[in-house]
Symmetry: C2
Subunit: 188 residues, 2 copies
Amino acid sequence: MGRWEPGAGNRLRVAAMELYVEQGFDQTTVAEIADRAGVTARTFFRYFTDKREVLFGGSAELEQRLVQALEAAPADATPIGAITAALDSAADSLGDHRDYARQRHLVIAATPELQERELIKMASLATALAAALRRRGVPDPGAGLAAEAGVAVFRVAFERWVTAPANTPLREVMRDTLGELTALTALG
Amino acid sequence: MGRWEPGAGNRLRVAAMELYVEQGFDQTTVAEIADRAGVTARTFFRYFTDKREVLFGGSAELEQRLVQALEAAPADATPIGAITAALDSAADSLGDHRDYARQRHLVIAATPELQERELIKMASLATALAAALRRRGVPDPGAGLAAEAGVAVFRVAFERWVTAPANTPLREVMRDTLGELTALTALG
């Protein structure tokens, strides 16, 4: 058995999510996760620092991806146009994993500690997007507002997407949600 | 010396804020706060459960005030119109205390634990405003989006207000910021 077992990271992720949904995040131990994935607890800790990281391990990567998409938007894109490019890239990287996203959403909604962690992740994303807009020359308060609006759209669209009966493409739900925000503010 | 000393709560609040700004939140003890306010630590604990509550004790009351203002908005107000009523009431209750607000802002910005607490407070506010909009008959995702947009405007406007060199009325900064959001989304 090598240091990295092929597929063990993914098996652990699937096993953890099943257990979190079945019996709750707080009630689940690393030993149980490892057991269900057919590996040792030691193997678990080669992939994740703790059982929370199974759910949040991809956060930094996602944030980086969104910032890069915003940076790659055409120079003449409006602030919300650049934010839309970031939202599209989020949809592209998350959109194929709706079952996983739905389970994750359920687990987080049921666990205050995880909700806090999710809030911190979203605040970090807003800060990173605002900084990227400022680097494009967008002045404040526009940069901060566009970033906050983008994260609000992301959050609301994501929840719509995972809770809807039909699997509408995430990119479409994001764009619709942004359109709704525009319509709401236009009505004043 | 009675159980409640007249003015002790306020003296403690002022003393705590001075110490948090001077030497940092983490470095300040309840004994020091009580000492500066000229009371005992026991008196401190008659007013506050801990040194964090000095900064967040008014959160539930503020949230309630905003929800009540939203509920009192005319029945034909748009979702953002109702949110504007809530923002106006926030401005009315916070607008006269800019020095305190600025100090509080500095202390929170310097302390990760307090930033997290502030994020939770803002998320709770968004949830409460969205629920109040739903009770007015606003369907989702509009209710959630309008509430998130309102909190984004609140947050950005509040930071503009406390960091600006001139003391522009908070209500005006809130309205301007909402106008900026409308303009940004209209540009798309």
